[in-house]
Symmetry: none
Subunit: 503 residues, 2 copies
C-alpha cells in the first residue's frame, strides 16, 4: 500500500520534471537560435509550460500522496525513499505557496525583460532596463512574501530556492572572513609589483580554432558530446534537458582567449555534473543536482582547480601552441601560466580571476539584499553599483553595460542566485581536497592528461548522490567539514603567493 | 452570452495550439541539433505533449462549448466567427472519433516502422518492411472506419485529414485529364531529341556559398529572417512555431546545385505562407493554413513558377555566376536555364522535374487507394509499383529502395498525403494566373528582382484568409474557378514546348 502511494508520487514527480524539461529546450533555443521576432510567442509558450508545471506540481493529489506516504516507514533517513519524499515535500510546500498568477507573471515578464536587457546593454542605456528591473524586483518581493521566511529576512526566501536551507546570515558568516583574506591577498599581489604579460591572451585566436580546442578539452575532461553539445550565446550557460541531452554554450572573442576557453571548461564542469546524475532517477530528488552552490563547485573546480593549474597546461600547452601558433608559438609556458592567473581588479565578473571573482559576488550580494528588503530602489542601482565597485576594486565602470547590466541574472528574475557562485568556490576547494586525500596527487594525474579519476570520484561522491544531503551536510559527509572558507583561502594563498613571490 | 461561450472556445483552441507549438520546437530541435543520446528522452517529451494536446483537444468542455455556440447566430457563414466554429467542430469530431487506443497504437507502430523502413531501405529488402506496412495499412483502415466517410470510400477519410472536404473522386477527376496531357508532353520531350547539359549542375558548389546564396534569395522573395531561420537537416522541412518564428531546413550536396537551392525556395514558399498568417488569429482556423494542398501550392509556386522561370534567372544569374565562378563562370544563362528544367523520367520523386513530378504522385495515389480498400495486399506493392512505373515512365526501378520504399510517408502512417502534392501544383497554377491577371506580367517583375507584389498578393488572397474556405472553394473565390488541371497544363506546355522546340 505505502509502496503504491510512493510509486504514484514518483510518477507524478517524473511527469512534472518531464514537462519542465520541455521548457528547458525552449529556453535553450531562445538563447541560441530563436529569431528575434519569436520572442513574444516564446514568452507565451514558456508561460504556458511554467503555469502548467506549477499546476501539476501543486495538485492536491500530490499533497494527499505526500501526507499518506509521510505516515509510513520510509526507512533510512538518507535512503532514496526518504530523500525523495523529503525533497518532494519541500518542493510542494514552496510551490503551493506561490499563486499561479504570480508564477505566470514572473515567467512572462522575465521572458520579455531578457530581450529588453539585451537591447539596453547593447546601447549602454540603463533607463531602458530600469522599468523591467522594477517589475522584477517587485515580483520577487511578492514571491518572498508568498513563500515565507524566518528571521524577518525576505531575501532568505529567494536564496532558499537556489541553495535550500542556507540563509543570508550563513552566507555573510562565510563571506566576511573570506573577504578579509581576499583583500589581504589582493593587496599583497598589487604591492608585489609582479605583472604577468596579459597581452599574450589578447593576441589573435581564430574562432574556429578556439571552438575546436575548447571542444577537445571539454571532451578530454569527461564531457560526453554524444549526450550533449556546445553552442554560442551572448551569456554562456549549461542546460541539462534530461538523460542523454545536456547543452553547453559559450561566446568567442578572437582577441580574448580566456573568455571562451575557461567559459567552456566552466560549463563543461556543470555538464559533467548533469551527465553524472542517475538517469533512472530523473525527475526525483535522487536524480537531481543538489543546489546551485554544489553545481558551481563542479564548474569552478574544472575551470580553476583543474583548468588554471600548472599541471593541466603541462599536458595541454604544446597542443595549444600548435592550435594557436601565431599567438603562442613563441610564448613560454611560464608566461602563459602567469597570464591566465593574472590577478587584477576588472569590470566583468565572468572574466575575473580566481581571486577577485569572489569580490564581484559579494558586491552583488550587498546590492540584492537591500533591493529585496526595499531599502534600495532599482533606479539607484547604477550609482550604488559604481560606488561599491570603486570601494571594492578601486576602479569605476565607464558605463552600465560593463557595470550593473553586465549579467543576465536580474533580467531573468534570478535574485538570490549570485551568492551560490562564491559558495561554489568554497565547496570546490573542500571537495578537491577530499578527492586528493583519496586519490593521491591530482596534479600529477593532470600533467599526464588523466582526468578520469577525478571525474569518476565526483560521479560517485557528488553526482550520484543527487539531493541525498543538503549542501553543508554534503560537505561534511564528503569532505569531513561543513561549509568553510578556509580550504579556498589555503588554495588561493598556496597558488598565488608563489606566483607573485609573496612572503 | 454567445460571445462569452465563443470567447471561451477560442481561448481553449489557442491554448491547445500553443501547447502544440511547444512540440514543434522540440521536433525541430530533434532534427537539427539534438545529440543522438537525447533521442529517448525527447521521445518521452514529445509523447507527453502529444498526449496532453489530444486530451485538451477532445475535452468534454470543448464539446459543450461547441454545442452551445452552434445554437447561436454566428453571422456570415464566411465570417471569422462561423469559420472558426465550423473548423473547430471538424477538428473536435475527428479527434473524438479516434479511440485513444488506436491513436496510441498508430503512434507506437509508426515510430517503430520508421526505424524498420530506414533499415529495409538501406538493405533494399522489402520483406523487412512488409510486416510493418501490413500493420500500418490495417491501422489506417481502422482509422478510416473510426472517423467515417461517405460514398463507401474509406480512403476519403484519410485524404480528408490532409485536404479537408476533398474526395478521392475529385482528385481522380483532376488527375485523369492531367495525366493524359502530361504523357503527351513527356512523349514530345522524349522524341524532341533535345538534351540539356545536366552536368552543369553537378560541378562543385561549395556549401558555404550555397547557404549564402540560398539565404539571400529566400530573403529576396520575401522570407523574413527576423522571424525565421534556415538550418540543415537530413530531410528538409518547414515548421511554423507560431507568430514571429518559422524555421526552414535544407540539405547541401556540393555536387548537386538544385537540391539545396530549389529545396530552400520550396521551404521558403511554405515559410512565406506561415509568416503571412494573421498572428492575432494564431490557434484559430482563421489564423491557420488551409490544407496541405494549399500549402504546397505556395511552396511549389515559389520553387517552380518563380525559381525555375527564365525571368527569375535573368535577375539572379550574374549573382549566381559570381557566387559559383568555378561552376558557372563560363556557362551561359541559356544552358543553365535548360539544365534546371531538364525533363526526364527518373526514379526518385523528390528529385523529379516539374512535369514528371505529378506522375510520381499519381502512381502513389493509384496504389494507396486499393491498399486501403483492401483490393491490394501490401505484399504485392513492389510488383504493382514496378509495373505501374514502367507504364508511367518507361523505366523500372532496379530495387525497392529506389522503388516503393523511397518515401518516408507510409512508414510514418501518412497515407492519403501524397495527392496533396499534385493538388498543390494545380492550385499553384490557378493562383499564379489570378495574381498575373490582377498585377500584370509577373515575369517582367521577376526580371527586375521585384517579388513583393506577388508576395503581398498571396498574403492578402491566400495567407490572411486562413481556413475561411475549403480549398476548391478558395480556388473559386481567388481564381474564379474550382480545382482544375488546365492552368497547370497550360503553364507546363507554354514553358516546356519552346524549351524542347515542340510544335
Amino acid at each position: 500500500m505505502s509502496t503504491d502511494v510512493y510509486e504514484e508520487l514518483i510518477t507524478e514527480q517524473k511527469r512534472v520534471a518531464l514537462l519542465g524539461s520541455c521548457g528547458h529546450v525552449l529556453g535553450w533555443d531562445r538563447e541560441t537560435y530563436m529569431p528575434r521576432g519569436g520572442a513574444e510567442h516564446r514568452a507565451n509558450q514558456l508561460s504556458l509550460l511554467a503555469g502548467l508545471g506549477h499546476q501539476w506540481g501543486t495538485s492536491p493529489r500530490i499533497g494527499e500522496l505526500l501526507e499518506q506516504v509521510e505516515g509510513t516507514d520510509l526507512g533510512d533517513a538518507d535512503g532514496a525513499k526518504a530523500v525523495n519524499v523529503r525533497e518532494a515535500r519541500r518542493q510542494f510546500d514552496r510551490a503551493t505557496k506561490m499563486p499561479q498568477k504570480l508564477v505566470e507573471e514572473i515567467s512572462r515578464v522575465t521572458s520579455l525583460a531578457q530581450q529588453a536587457w539585451i537591447d539596453a546593454r547593447k546601447e549602454a542605456d540603463f533607463s531602458k532596463f530600469q522599468p523591467w528591473l522594477e517589475q522584477i524586483v517587485s515580483l520577487k518581493r511578492d514571491e518572498a512574501q508568498a513563500v515565507g521566511y524566518g528571521d524577518g529576512i525576505p531575501y532568505d526566501a529567494l536564496l532558499d530556492e537556489f541553495e535550500p536551507g542556507t540563509t543570508a546570515a550563513e552566507v555573510t558568516a562565510a563571506f566576511t572572513p573570506l573577504r578579509e583574506e581576499l583583500v589581504k591577498l589582493v593587496g599583497g599581489i598589487r604591492e608585489s609589483g609582479v605583472q604577468p604579460n596579459h597581452e599574450i591572451l589578447t593576441r589573435t585566436y581564430p574562432q574556429t580554432a578556439q571552438a575546436e580546442f575548447g571542444t577537445k578539452v571539454a571532451a578530454a575532461i569527461g564531457f560526453d558530446f554524444d549526450r550533449g553539445r556546445l553552442d554560442v550565446t551572448t551569456h554562456p550557460f549549461c542546460s541539462g534537458f534530461g538523460p542523454g541531452d545536456c547543452r553547453l554554450t559559450t561566446r568567442y572573442d578572437e582577441h580574448h582567449f580566456p573568455g571562451a576557453f575557461f567559459g567552456t571548461m566552466h560549463e563543461a564542469g556543470h555538464g559533467i555534473y548533469e551527465q553524472g546524475l542517475d538517469p533512472d532517477a530523473f525527475g526525483t530528488a535522487m536524480g537531481s543536482s543538489r543546489s546551485l552552490g554544489i553545481h558551481e563547485s563542479q564548474s569552478r573546480m574544472w575551470e580553476n582547480f583543474v583548468g588554471r593549474s600548472r599541471a593541466f597546461w603541462n599536458h595541454f600547452y604544446s597542443d595549444a601552441q600548435s592550435t594557436f601558433p601565431d599567438a603562442l608559438g613563441d610564448t613560454s609556458l611560464d608566461d602563459f601560466y602567469a597570464a591566465i592567473n593574472d590577478v587584477r581588479p576588472s569590470m566583468i565578473r565572468v572574466e575575473a580571476d580566481e581571486v577577485t571573482y569572489n569580490l564581484h559576488i559579494m558586491l552583488r550580494f550587498e546590492i540584492e539584499q537591500p533591493l529585496i528588503a526595499g531599502d534600495l530602489q532599482p533606479a539607484d542601482v547604477p550609482s550604488v553599483w559604481n560606488e561599491k565597485f570603486e570601494q571594492f576594486f578601486g576602479i569605476v565602470p565607464k558605463n552600465d553595460s560593463e557595470g550593473c547590466m553586465q549579467d543576465i541574472h536580474w533580467s531573468a528574475g534570478l535574485i538570490g542566485y549570485f551568492p551560490t557562485y562564491a559558495l561554489g568556490n568554497m565547496y570546490a576547494a573542500q571537495f578537491f581536497n577530499a578527492a586528493a586525500r583519496e586519490l593521491g596527487d591530482l596534479h600529477t594525474m593532470f600533467a599526464k592528461g588523466e582526468f578520469e579519476p577525478l571525474k569518476n570520484w565526483l560521479n560517485v561522491n557528488i553526482h550520484q548522490r543527487g539531493q541525498q544531503y543538503r549542501a553543508p551536510r554534503m560537505a561534511e559527509v564528503v569532505a569531513g567539514e561543513t561549509l568553510s572558507h578556509e580550504p579556498l583561502v589555503e588554495h588561493l594563498n598556496s597558488k598565488f603567493k608563489p606566483l607573485y613571490r609573496l612572503d
